[in-house]
């Protein structure tokens, strides 16, 4: 169980998550400092370690729209943040799977900042459910693209590609 650290609306662009002016910074070890940097309050909280690793960002539709910059995903994994959104923009979703960002597609999600969220991983139908413990409500999730499951299971695209190279499936 973990808290919702940040609640956002629809169409949150990569320019909001990781502004273009910090794109010269590329390494996943260095990108987290600029996560949501234009939201001074939240960025300060992150840097002051006031946001517990494992906390959730809850967003509306089309989270991560815009640029293909992977920094927008790696800056969140760096803080151990997880994202629940009504849906995700294509490139952001792929990038997040590739770099191992924990994400959940939950079209009906209702949550406010401070709510306690639990992900019920195994349900009879196999799909995880999102439980808002504070509000006492459960929400269905949409599975991530099946085609990407092998990459998720491998822990990201780097280990997955490495495995392919080693197995000679190149």
């Amino acid at each position: 169980m973990a808290k919702v650290a940040l609640k956002l609306g629809d169409d949150i662009s990569t320019d909001i998550i990781y502004p273009g002016r910090y794109m010269a910074t590329v390494l996943p070890t260095e990108t987290p400092q600029y996560a949501f940097v234009d939201d001074a309050e939240f960025n300060k909280k992150l840097k002051a370690k006031q946001v517990e690793p494992g906390s959730f960002i809850v967003a509306g539709k089309n989270f991560g729209c815009g640029s293909s910059r992977e920094q927008a995903a790696s800056c969140l994994t760096g803080w151990g943040l997880k994202v629940i959104a009504k849906n995700f923009a294509r490139i952001f979703l792929q990038n997040s799977i590739n770099v191992g960002l924990y994400m959940v597609i939950c079209p009906a999600i209702e949550a406010d900042e401070g709510d306690e969220i639990e992900i019920i991983a195994s349900t009879p139908l196999g799909n995880p459910k999102v439980k808002n413990v504070t509000k006492g409500k459960e929400f269905d999730t949409v599975p991530l693209p099946k085609a990407r499951q092998a990459i998720i299971d491998a822990g990201g695209l780097i280990p997955y590609t490495r495995k392919l190279i080693l197995s000679g499936r190149k």
């Binding site: 169409d11 320019d15 794109m23 539709k61 990407r148």
Partner: protein, 468 residues
């Protein structure tokens, strides 16, 4: 049941007779493009090979293109060091399609690829830039990916686990009125579809307006399909594609052209009547917040930007120079012009457009992404409003979250530079004598055709000189 353009291309690239929407394929990549974020790709690429005991060599150096455009010339030691790291990698791997910071062959990746003849119909193209959708203008399936995905492509020569996307068919008919441009078509479409309306889908462009449109205009359409969430935009290739490839891109061997099957299945069909279209404005802070220019009348702007991978091509500069000739940029407005490539820069120089801009008070900058993504050059002050021919108006996009960006065509941007407020370019028609008075309307289109023709007559020399 027949196949759409993207189905046909993916079937070929995956070595299959047929693919259905939702099938998972691993298409071979014809061209893999990166820009400055190649620095991250290099990092991820070497990580893939760590502990494998195999040398970290790219699968095919001739199929990798790297173009410096986002931060040129370098704005910081950090960027300069990234550039250096990439240069060293390019030399070590033998990558030939490399465009460094140079006045003879530099520019924005989404202009360099088509004008250099790297883009071909039927190809699978991936790029670590969301506007890689652009190259569908030449009949390729071209889409944006992240840096780690690209590292995997560099290693394997294919994209893993691609779901065959569904397609939205967009049919545009009718003649565009004067000062209504391809940009207005695509803004109108994004407004209709919304920012996520085409998420995971391909937008295939049809109709007589698209058939008559130059490749330059088609690049505008495909470029911005990503703003509706699309994986890619695509124009079935035709005579114009062949003309562009031969005359402007110097391509000698043109691959066999193909279009979608007549009985291809589309998820949605959108029709647009170009003859009824007005100039469009995308209001802050989302690209789908689109209204006709009249709704923005009187909004004062402090910066005008003409350029970018969307609207920095020769016809954009021609139309803007036509409007600004003998006029002045309003006091209090900073007008910045960024030609999309150094070749376009040289052509605009020869045609006198750049002199027109400078006499009007505009600042002509070097080719590159410039202020579009707020990296350097042309940052906005708190409270500033900018009107730009670029592709995004997200909060913070032009470097300042306390400023606003409006998007428009080149004609609207140029007209607004004169007045200092968002202005309908059609309001200039009566006061501006046209070169051939009495010519039937639709001369916005006519003017473009005229420019193209002129280029055709004397263009060959220019083009050849511009190349290598």
């Amino acid at each position: 049941m027949g196949m759409t353009m993207v189905q046909k291309i993916l079937a070929r690239a995956a070595g299959l007779p047929k693919v259905l929407v939702g099938d998972v394929v691993e298409p071979k990549v014809d061209l893999a493009m990166s820009h400055e974020n190649g620095a991250l790709v290099i990092n991820q690429f070497s990580e893939i090979y760590q502990g494998t005991g195999q040398p970290a060599n790219v699968w095919d150096p001739s199929r990798i293109a790297i173009i410096f455009d986002h931060r040129v010339p370098a704005e910081s030691p950090k960027t300069a060091t990234n550039h250096k790291k990439i240069r060293e990698f390019v030399a070590k791997q033998g990558i030939t399609k490399f465009h460094d910071i140079r006045g003879d062959e530099g520019g924005i990746c989404h202009q360099i690829l088509p004008e250099s003849g790297y883009d071909l119909p039927g190809q699978v193209i991936v790029g670590t830039d969301s506007h890689t959708t652009s190259h569908g203008a030449l009949g390729a399936f071209s889409f944006g990916i992240g840096a780690t995905e690209m590292a995997s492509v560099w290693a394997l020569g294919k994209v893993l686990n691609v779901e065959v996307p569904g397609t939205i068919k967009v049919v545009v008919n009718g003649t565009l009125p004067k000062y209504v441009e391809p940009k207005d078509i695509i803004l109108n479409l994004i407004g209709k579809l919304t920012a996520e309306g085409a998420n995971y889908k391909v937008i295939e462009f049809h109709g007589e307006t698209v058939r008559k449109m130059s490749t330059s205009g088609r690049l505008v359409l495909c470029n911005m399909t990503v703003e509706a969430g699309a994986t890619s935009g695509i124009v079935p290739p035709d005579k114009e594609t062949v003309r562009y490839l031969k005359q402007e891109a110097g391509v000698k061997a043109i691959p066999a052209l193909f279009g979608p099957d007549a009985d291809a299945q589309y998820e949605q069909v959108v029709e647009i009547d170009a003859s009824k279209l007005e100039p469009q404005i995308a209001f802050p802070h989302t690209v789908d917040n689109v209204k006709p220019v009249g709704a923005a009348k009187g909004i004062k702007v402090q910066q005008i930007v003409i350029g970018s991978c969307t609207n920095g091509r020769l016809d954009d500069l021609a139309i803007a120079a036509g409007i600004l000739k003998g006029k002045k940029v309003a006091r209090g407005v900073r007008m910045l012009v960024f030609p999309a490539s150094t070749r376009i820069y040289q052509q605009a120089l020869q045609k006198g457009y750049l002199a027109t801009f400078m006499k009007a008070g505009a600042v002509v900058m070097n080719s590159g992404c410039g202020p579009c993504l707020g990296v350097h050059q042309g940052a906005l002050a708190d409270g500033d409003k900018a009107l730009a021919t670029t592709n995004r108006n997200f909060k913070g996009r032009m470097g300042n979250p306390n400023a606003e960006v409006y998007l428009s065509s080149s004609a609207t941007a140029a007209a607004s530079a004169i007045t200092g407020e968002i202005t309908d370019p059609r309001s200039l028609i009566s006061e501006k004598p046209t070169r051939k008075p009495g010519r039937p309307k639709g001369s916005g289109k006519t003017q473009k055709t005229r420019n193209t023709k002129r280029k055709d007559k004397q263009g060959k020399k220019t083009v050849k000189r511009g190349r290598k």
